[in-house]
């Protein structure tokens, strides 16, 4: 009997109906549903408590989980047929998929009360990014739970050691920072505390391995690698914005920098679109939380200004993009928020002017094309070696941007956030879908 696996028999996910929590719940449901077919556990009872604040939210969660588990089952039908080989009456793929979905959904026990967590051995947490709220909840569970549960926090910015000390968890907590959406994103940042329980570390690595996730160890410094990089990337973009804005004005400056970081750095989206995707409010909140623990201060007057105007970005519950720096139609940028008129104006003509201003001659493949290409590395090499030779404003700004990102990656290592710049590269490639890491030889 595997001691670590025993802990999966009763799990709680706090904040299960939230954006991150629902994904973490899904991963646990799939993990436990698969575990039920492990020879040591056939016929045993597994529980996954889905804890959140209202039944309305939990009801919606049911649909999401059913849809996602079904998709997983369809994709993994070859494995499932083997797993259900001992059930003679399950013959068609559909029989097997339906049974798996039913069994997986049966694991979930929704609740708006905290008491079910008192019997859990693993507590996954994905609630509000607030030190006091998290530690109060952890302590309450720990004090009432005789099983000495392990806590896995999805915090993206609060040091784990702070949560450990304040909730008196005696090292039974680890940072397990999933990326959105957790079920799809391969990356998990793992943050161990100095005197953390080694069994917990082992358990997390086993979980990640079983769920085919890529783990990157990060040191326990606020923001860790992912947000440590992103927040400073945002501030670099803002610095360029401040330099360019007096000549170009707000709209063209935003579009120029967004275009450079999108098309010339060949990222899935430009930096300001990424801020919209994450949410302007979320970004400023993360900076605020990080500032609480860090010596250097991360402040974005630009984001704060937009927030003061009620421009927040982020996503609608159905996953569609809310307007932020940009206005969107079916995911595409169609407008930009004009600070003077305080309304969105079309980007059509502006983009023409921006392209003319940047005047880049080297032709680039799009991120989408290269993300599907087996020859991406060669194309990137060719593109950047040409871009670096160009004298256009766009090429020079892009190369400067890349240099700054490389410095940023190196600085994260120097600051002790990670032990290797390769970890930074892994996070940016897997968590942000960059085609190459910031610490590279292109520049």
């Amino acid at each position: 009997m595997n001691h670590h696996l025993e802990r999966y028999k009763n799990i709680s996910v706090l904040g299960a109906a939230g954006k991150m929590g629902s994904g973490i719940l899904l991963l646990n449901v799939l993990h436990s549903a698969k575990l039920m077919h492990h020879p040591d556990y056939v016929g045993q009872t597994f529980v996954v408590n889905a804890i959140d604040q209202s039944f309305e939210q939990l009801d919606k969660l049911n649909h999401y989980i059913k849809d996602q588990v079904t998709r997983w089952a369809e994709k993994n039908i070859i494995w499932l047929r083997k797993a259900y080989n001992n059930r003679p009456h399950l013959i068609d793929n559909k029989d097997i998929i339906d049974t798996f979905v039913f069994e997986a959904l049966s694991l979930i026990k929704p609740s708006i009360n905290i008491e079910p967590t008192y019997r859990s051995t693993l507590i996954f947490e994905a609630i509000i990014e607030n030190e006091d709220v998290k530690t109060k909840l952890f302590k309450q569970i720990n004090d009432n739970n005789p099983n000495k549960p392990f806590f896995l926090s999805n915090t993206s910015s609060i040091p784990i050691s702070v949560l450990n000390d304040k909730a008196e968890l005696n090292g039974n907590i680890i940072g397990c920072h999933f990326y959105n959406p957790p079920a799809v994103q391969k990356l998990i940042e793992v943050i161990e505390t100095e005197n953390g329980n080694p069994d917990l570390t082992k358990l997390v690595y086993g979980f990640a391995n079983h769920m085919q996730k890529v783990l990157v160890p990060s040191n326990d410094l606020a923001g860790f690698i992912g947000n440590g990089f992103l927040m400073r990337d945002i501030l670099y973009a803002e610095k360029q914005y401040n330099n360019l804005k007096p000549d170009m004005g707000h709209n063209k400056t935003i579009l120029s920098i967004n275009t450079i970081s999108h098309e010339l750095l060949i990222r899935p989206m430009g930096i300001f679109q990424l801020i919209d995707y994450v949410g302007i409010e979320v970004c400023t909140y993360i900076m605020k939380v990080m500032n609480h623990y860090l010596e250097d201060e991360l402040i974005s007057p630009l984001l704060n200004k937009l927030l003061s105007l009620g421009i927040k970005g982020g996503q609608n519950p159905d996953g569609t993009q809310k307007d932020g720096f940009f206005q969107y139609s079916e995911g595409d940028i169609v407008g930009i928020y004009d600070l003077e008129s305080k309304s969105y104006i079309s980007t059509g003509d502006l983009m023409e002017e921006v392209k003319h201003f940047l005047a880049v001659k080297t032709e680039a493949y799009s991120w989408k094309q290269l993300s599907q290409s087996k020859r991406a590395a060669k194309h990137l090499d060719n593109f950047f070696s040409e871009l670096i030779k160009e004298n256009s404003i766009g090429a020079k700004m892009a190369c400067n941007y890349m240099r700054a990102m490389k410095d940023l990656g190196i600085q994260l290592q120097a600051d002790g956030v990670c032990s290797s710049t390769e970890h930074v590269n892994t996070v940016m490639k897997n968590g942000f879908f960059h085609l190459y890491g910031p610490v590279n030889n292109y520049i």
């Binding site: 369809e74 039908i77 070859i78 499932l80 047929r81 013959i91 068609d92 793929n93 559909k94 998929i97």
Partner: protein, 412 residues
């Protein structure tokens, strides 16, 4: 044969599915009745209208599962009001359903109960995701074998054949034959506007065909390029007697003559006699050539049932173009390409044109009719004077039902 039989007025809808630019899995698509009507009406238009038709037959495998619709014979009057209260029926023999529709029409002509038969084959399969479609298609095998079969049942069955062939004759040897088969099919499909792979402009066809199978994602011995795709489509053609030909008012030059047919069955409850041989196909081909009183060397072209590339390779052996175990070499050497000694599947076959399962047998007849009457457009091949024949091989299940026809170019 006691009566002369001709085929005229063939028609194919497009084979719709992944690869066609019109296809979007989340957008609404035409239903099965649309395909039957499009194909049927096109043939009727060429033969002077439905008033000339004595009876109709539709070949379909699995509408009852893919479309929740049985009783397709009763859809025939929806094609044209003049088909109301005339005989029509649906026949089924898995992927050989279209071939059986042809056989059914042929027998009506031979029996003298009809002089003009409208034969349609139809299948609409993109209604479900692939893993559920696999359940439906698996019914072409013995259901008691389903439990222990692969999730993708028929790819699994033919993967076993490819595995045996590779093990016996060499992995790389077999793979090169299969990859060449795939490349030929796509190149041919590019020349046919209705083909599912018509828009495939890959420059790396052979490399794609050579990709190693991934058993974790699919089956042990086939890659995705080895498999025909999921298709929606219909084909139709008129089967007529001499009297019927006069009635529809078409010249002999627009007809091909049926000079031989065979239809054989092997016991579905038993495994293949030899995984490296299409025994039933071999038997059916032998019978059809004997009936037509020709040798394989008089064939100008063949439409064979390449539901998987290995089935194409094995068909070259079953027909006798290559000795046992030499089919992969025969294909790799280019003999089956459109410029080769015996062009196979000149509009792409099942791999390239598409495989709307119940329509395939009729589609094959339409393709040979097009080639022998010089109506194949850009896909037209040369038909030598001394080789006026074309052969169809339509297979149901894992070589369990096979229908063959030999068609002859008409003179005069």
């Amino acid at each position: 044969m006691q009566r002369r039989i001709f085929l005229v007025a063939g028609y194919n809808t497009i084979a719709l599915g992944t690869g066609r630019k019109e296809f979007h899995p989340k957008k609404e698509r035409p239903g099965i009745e649309y395909y039957m009507q499009e194909a049927g009406r096109a043939t009727l238009k060429k033969i002077g209208g439905a008033g000339n038709v004595d009876e109709s037959v539709v070949g379909n495998f699995m509408a009852s599962r893919f479309n929740n619709q049985a009783h397709l014979g009763a859809f025939i009057p929806s094609i044209d009001k003049k088909l109301q209260y005339k005989p029509a029926m649906r026949v089924e023999g898995a992927c050989a359903s279209g071939g059986l529709a042809m056989i059914s029409g042929i027998k009506s002509i031979l029996a003298g109960t009809a002089d003009v038969v409208l034969a349609i084959g139809v299948e609409v399969q993109n209604t479900v995701k692939a893993m559920y479609g696999a359940d439906h298609l698996a019914l072409a095998g013995y259901y008691k074998n389903r439990k222990n079969g692969h999730a993708y049942f028929f790819p699994g069955e033919f993967s076993d054949r490819a595995g045996s062939y590779s093990k016996t004759y060499g992995d790389d040897y077999a793979r090169k034959g299969m990859a060449t088969w795939y490349a030929n099919c796509i190149q041919n499909a590019r020349l046919c506007e209705t083909a599912q792979e018509h828009h495939n402009d890959s420059e790396h066809l052979f490399d794609t065909g050579m990709e190693a199978p991934n058993a974790e994602l699919f089956v042990d011995n086939l890659n995705y390029a080895d498999c025909s795709k999921v298709s929606d489509g219909a084909s139709s053609i008129a089967i007529v007697s001499e009297k019927g030909l006069k009635r529809v008012g078409l010249p002999l030059s627009e007809a091909v003559e049926l000079v031989g047919f065979s239809q054989v069955e092997e016991n579905i409850m038993e495994p293949p006699i030899d995984e490296c041989e299409l025994s039933t196909t071999k038997n059916a081909v032998s019978k059809v050539l004997e009936m037509a009183q020709i040798t394989k060397d008089e064939l100008a072209t063949v439409e064979t049932h390449d539901c998987f590339t290995i089935a194409g390779v094995l068909a070259t052996e079953a027909i006798g173009f290559a000795a046992k175990g030499k089919g992969a070499q025969f294909v790799a050497d280019g003999h089956t390409s459109r410029e080769g000694s015996i062009p196979f599947n000149t509009t792409g076959g099942l791999i390239g044109w598409g495989h709307p399962t119940g329509a395939t047998g009729v589609h094959q007849a339409v393709t040979i009719w097009e080639q022998l009457t010089h109506q194949a457009g850009r896909a037209q091949i040369s038909i030598p004077e001394h080789k006026p024949y074309g052969l169809t091989v339509n297979m149901g299940g894992n070589d369990k039902t096979v229908v063959c026809m030999v068609l002859k170019k008409t003179t005069g």
